[in-house]
Symmetry: C2
Subunit: 99 residues, 2 copies
């Protein structure tokens, strides 16, 4: 899980992840991604890092590699964070206090 958060610890990769996920059909190739402020080879490099961390899956079709979010992975990470937040908010019940 730490390795996944490490892959997310970069503003360009965060932007790319959103871009891939919100692209029509939930997949995108480097050819679909422009104006993220870095060159196409850099986009390729970061997409590969996201795939190596298990956040994206990839499929080669003819000339291009298409990336999409790995099913369930982002949701699981999100759930872990939400659950951690929730644990911190749970008050000790009066019954538990009394015991």
């Amino acid at each position: 899980m730490a390795a996944m958060f490490k892959a997310l610890a970069d503003p360009v990769r965060l932007r790319l992840l959103s871009r891939v996920a919100s692209h029509p059909n939930g997949e995108a190739c480097v050819c679909d991604i422009a104006d993220v402020g870095v060159s196409q080879p850099t986009v390729s490099h970061h997409l590969k890092k996201l795939r190596e961390a298990g956040l994206l899956t990839s499929e080669r079709r003819a000339t291009w590699v298409y990336y999409r979010p790995a099913p369930g992975v982002l949701a699981s990470l999100g759930e872990f964070l939400a659950d951690t937040e929730k644990a911190g908010k749970e008050e000790i019940s009066p019954a538990a206090r009394a015991s």
Copy 2:
């Protein structure tokens, strides 16, 4: 947001975050945390990193600094990830396809 994910990109810090959040009353000091496999100064160091990233807040009371999850922050990060996953799953509606 990338800086927050960077703070989470470490197994010890992930463990500490869970430990603080799940501690009674949702707060803990270094004195409350043992058996995470690292020394107390290392625990202090990592708690400080989590605070600097905005994931924990801290309050000094007498000898100890007490840490708790910063309200709403983990939940927001979790929501961002869940929303990104959801965006990737949304199918194009037949109406949108036809247009």
